[in-house]
């Protein structure tokens, strides 16, 4: 399993639109990908699930990938977070 943490700087947090883009990115990988915000955890490939995390500006999330392409997944998603959130 590979993971990274990221502090969200986007003013709106992970609101509906970036959540949608994130899910699309995550769906490209075979690995199981989870996002954790505090005690809540969501499947990064499920839009509504990600939205219910209600990630706000300043929250620190942990993204963990587990599977054959976990290294690629973590690299791509970390770049995605930096660019969009």
């Amino acid at each position: 399993m590979k993971q990274f943490t990221y502090k969200v700087t986007d003013e709106l947090g992970i609101h509906a639109r970036p959540a949608g883009l994130l899910v699309k990115e995550a769906a490209k990988f075979q690995s199981s990908i989870k996002i954790k915000n505090g005690t809540k955890e969501a499947d990064a490939k499920r839009l509504l699930n990600v939205m219910t995390l209600a990630v706000k500006q300043g929250n620190t999330v942990t993204v963990a990938a587990d599977g054959a392409d976990e290294a690629d997944a973590v690299k791509t998603l970390e770049a995605f977070f930096k660019a969009n959130l």
Binding site: A16, R17, R46, L47, M51, T52, A54, N59
Partner: protein
Amino acid sequence: MERFTGKSLLERVAIGRIYIYKKQEYLLEKRNIDDIEGEKKRFHEAREAAMKELQGLYDKALAEIGEEEAQIFEIHRMMLEDLDFIEGTESMIDGEKVNAEFAVSETGTTLSNLFASMEDAYMKERAIDVLDVTKRVVNRLAGVEDGGMHTKDPVIVVAEDLTPSETVQMDTNKILAFVTRKGSSNSHTAILARTMNIPALVKTDITLDDKYQGQEAVVDGTTGELYIKPSKELMDSMVEKKMEIDRKDNELKKLIGQESITADGRKVNLYANIGNVEDTKKVLENDAEGIGLFRSEFLYIGKNTFPTEEEQFRAYKAVLEKMEGKKVVIRTLDIGADKKADYFNLDQEENPALGYRAIRICLTQPDIFRTQLRALYRASAYGTLSIMFPMIIALEEVQEIKKIVQEVKEELQRENIPMGDVELGIMIETPAAALISDDLAKEVQFFSIGSNDLTQYTLAIDRQNEKLEKMCDTHHKAVLKLIRMTVENGHKEGIWVGICGELAGDTTLTEQFIHMGVDELSVSASRILNVRKAIRECV
């Protein structure tokens, strides 16, 4: 004439006929089915058809209204690809052998309830999106057409609530105002109304009776009232009010780029109050001359831990840079009372307004204070920064603050971190501070009068208590006397004195403040031009 009231979102007036918008009712049926695979195929066909429709709505909204309003259809389309939605529906068809309409509707309701129960205001509103999008699929399955709006002339749209897919199908040229029974200031109708700059009432106490269809009506966004079949006198006065608002709007816009100077040549610094970095945009749009109150609490509230020095530094630096050298007054942490964050571990208090808050926390837990001061001084190199301290009641507090500030500055100097010249000031928001402002003025470079708390503490009235509303005279002589005293004491020591509470934006007091000698008024960005106008009319 009938009168209804709601919560107004925009202070504008609309006059026109009522259009009662009712949703097409579809009676959901639960049927048992045998052909499970066939039913799933129906579901996916309807889902794909709905996604195509949403693509079309996205394009239409993008072309006609704009990116912000269009985005929602893109999100709706993505929701139809959501695995929770798809799997939930499929497993219901599988497990309960029910028709696709029922399975979609039930799954949608379950997911929507998940959002409706969230604390986050933005996410709570998304419950309606989930329902909207599942209804679209159900309509495709059942062959029901969406109800559009059929009208030749522009109308006042009255509805239970409006989903984005409903509003986008309306011709925006034909909408004078929105009136809904439900809704909130976070709803799509609200966003649309603000974009279109038309009045909108939400949570209105009207029943959607067909007898109102086509009736002449007036929406008064200044009071939140809807009049149906208005009397001639009322209509006349509303026509006048509408013309007046339009005229004033145009007049105010002309003041962008003008000085805030009285008719006899006295310059007043007109600044804006902000609560986060993004507000700076509105400050510049409305041509404020600086920022008179930057509430730093947003960095602390809604978090799980204290904001780091780096995080604070970035926020302060961003605002200072955006203001390009104009003055920015940042108020240090004012948490406690009604503003709480869990990780501060504040005790439940009997009397929070008089309790452990603001500078009292900072001086008791100086680590929190030092982190903020370090971030502020580091940011000071990027613009013109002033720092002010809230809830002061004693001279000793100010002396202690200055001692800590000095230590922080020396520490940064040792680290060779560049700093700008920083003015230090205090909020005058307790009667105690106003009464000893002669002594306090010797210690600081400016005063900013926080009129909201000063009023609350002087009158011993909780402004949030509706029962006391009548007694809460915001122009109370005692408060005005304290303001006058503060200004005079400040000037005796040669420091500037401003007002940053709600009173600063009260244009009925502008002239009086100027006569008292107030040097600066800091108001919400949307009030800047109104106050500039009032200043320019003063003699």
